[in-house]
């Protein structure tokens, strides 16, 4: 165990995978310079410019070349810089990468990772703050992972690289510098297994990504003992654990940074209601962002953010039902 930042944990995990498998390589803008969050620092020196490839500002081709390279047997790590820029490569991700195995009847597979750091990061405004995880869970063919701790950043990145499915890894921009304990020998995490962060009978709280520490703190502040799940991966997601808990507590609260409307919280809520029947629950609610772009000004941005205090309020409300 060692204490380190999210970025450092991710950096080490990638380095370890690149040492293990010479077919792993990474491509994206400014990678030789270390990436914009330092998550590639030093890797070009160790692995050379053929495996840590700085690219032009050509998002369609960064993504599409990742696919071509996967079809020819390498394991590319496709760096999108931030999730918003993936919007410049959506055809490549959704109509090509996600579908290639299926539409060619299993002849080829897109064994690659798309890293797309997402979410708010102090005052980046509307075009640099989006959370798009719900979109990706809607797309057949994609695995969607969303670490919320440094250890999981490492474990999920390793799992993503070794997976034969295309895996989208949503790293929370706001947590790159957050610290946590990371095992010396990080094992790849299985997809679809939540981490239970707290236990209690009052309610079942589900969250992921940047909201993980916020929810943990908010639940503590509420003083109410709840089951808290950090999903870690959104597709597949740990429906079994969440439904079992909700059956016991009878109360579900899903918290995420993304816009509430058509966010992944809707899917979690809907599945739990479908699984237990509405009568099996006393409360089922979501806490997310209003359906508005993210504003620049600090107090305005804060008004859109999930805070521990808002989580605590919601926990109290749900627990009281």
């Amino acid at each position: 165990m060692a204490r380190m930042t999210f970025a450092e944990a991710a950096r080490r995990a990638l380095a370890e995978e690149m040492r293990r498998d010479p077919l792993v390589w990474a491509l994206g803008e400014d990678l030789v310079q270390g990436g914009i969050f330092g998550q590639y620092r030093g890797l070009a020196q160790e692995f050379g410019a053929e495996r840590i490839v700085s690219t032009p500002i050509s998002e369609s081709t960064i993504m599409g070349a990742g696919l071509g390279a996967a079809l020819c047997g390498t394991r590319p790590v496709v760096e999108m810089r931030i999730a918003d820029f993936t919007l410049c490569a959506m055809d490549e991700l959704v109509s090509q990468i996600a579908k290639v195995r299926y539409m060619f009847g299993g002849q080829g597979r897109a064994a690659l990772v798309v890293r797309m750091p997402q979410g708010m990061w102090r005052n980046s405004a509307a075009q640099h703050s989006q959370c798009l995880e719900a979109w990706l869970t809607h797309i057949p063919g994609l695995v969607v992972a969303a670490p919320g701790t440094p250890a999981d950043a490492a474990g999920l990145l390793k799992a993503a690289i070794r997976s034969d499915d295309p895996v989208v890894l949503l790293e929370p921009k706001n947590l790159w510098t957050a610290e946590g304990e990371v095992p010396d020998d990080v094992a790849p995490l299985p997809f679809g297994v939540a981490r239970q962060a707290a236990q209690g009978d009052a309610a079942t709280i589900v969250t992921w990504s940047a909201c993980v520490p916020v929810v943990e703190q908010g639940v503590r502040e509420s003083g109410i003992a709840c089951d808290v799940f950090d999903l870690r991966s959104l597709w597949p997601w740990d429906e079994g654990a969440v439904v079992a808990s909700a059956r016991r507590t009878g109360r579900l609260l899903v918290v995420h940074e993304a816009v509430t409307v058509s966010g992944f919280g809707a899917e979690v809520l809907a599945r739990v209601v479908e699984a237990l029947g509405p009568a099996g629950l006393r409360a089922a609610e979501r806490l997310g962002a209003p359906r508005a772009p993210v504003p620049f000004s600090p107090p305005l941005e804060d008004a859109m953010r999930i805070s521990p205090a808002r989580v605590a309020d919601a926990v109290r409300r749900v627990a009281a039902r």
Partner: protein
Amino acid sequence: MAGASNETARRIAMLRDMARIRAFEREAVAAMRAGEAPGVVHPSIGQEGVAVGVCANLRRADRITSTHRGHGHAIAKGADAGAMMLELHGRAGGCCGGKGGSMHIADFTVGMLGANGVVGAGIPIACGAAQAIRLKQEEAIVACFFGDGAVNRGPFLEGMNWAALYRLPVLFVCEDNGFAAFTRNSAVTAGGGPAVRAEACGVPATVVDGEDVLAVDGAAADLVARIRAGGGPQFLHAKCYRWEGHTGTDAAAYRPAEEAAAARDRDCIGRLRAALEAAGVAATEIAAIEADAEAEMASHRAAAMAAAWPDLGAAFSDVQDSGAPAWPA
């Protein structure tokens, strides 16, 4: 005369491939019109010389990426035409298990990495394939086919720059049939055309008469040799004409009938036939090749109509390993 007869044999092989592509597509269009092959078919009849002239210079280990109009590329690269015909009919045994259809024809066993329903989408894929080939130190190149319409999409620019920058082993082949769907492409394209655009991004370009398969073959041989020698990407702009409409149901009313008729007079197959006859190949031998091609494809079509539908489970397989869909209740 071993050289000459080798050369004649090579030309006869090209004629056979062109005849097979044409016969395949004639059957495919007929099957589509008869309601036997579902969905939409984009025939490349008249353009066979490009696919064949290029692929004659490729090896099995080489890869190609293709377009919505991809039957010819697939057959020229050596794909199994029977499995393709099954695929067009949505039947079990189709090269994509019936899940792709005409627009997603593919045969990875011969390096055919897939047709594509999105114009220009093969360009970035080809670039990445070439990067993987380099990383794995394989001896292979990638040929990337696309239409003249694709030169107006962003990935065209990105891919040219990318391939030139990393000096990738890619042969870009622009099949310029003059049309993008129902619009004459010159009416929506400014500047000096595909070759000029490629060169502006650092990819050397060659223009060729795509209706002359020997010219295509000669140009491709030269470019492929340069690429194999480590010379970086090359661009081949092949001018041709699409005899049929955009799809099997498009009557192409947007263009003068004489124009299409004139293209038929420039037939790539007819020209190679004439060249072979002039070189002393018997007309009967050529006729037999063409008849064989027609018989082969007619039998593939009959076999497809007789074949079983895919198992319904195929609808839910090969999506993904983690989080695969369950068979619905």
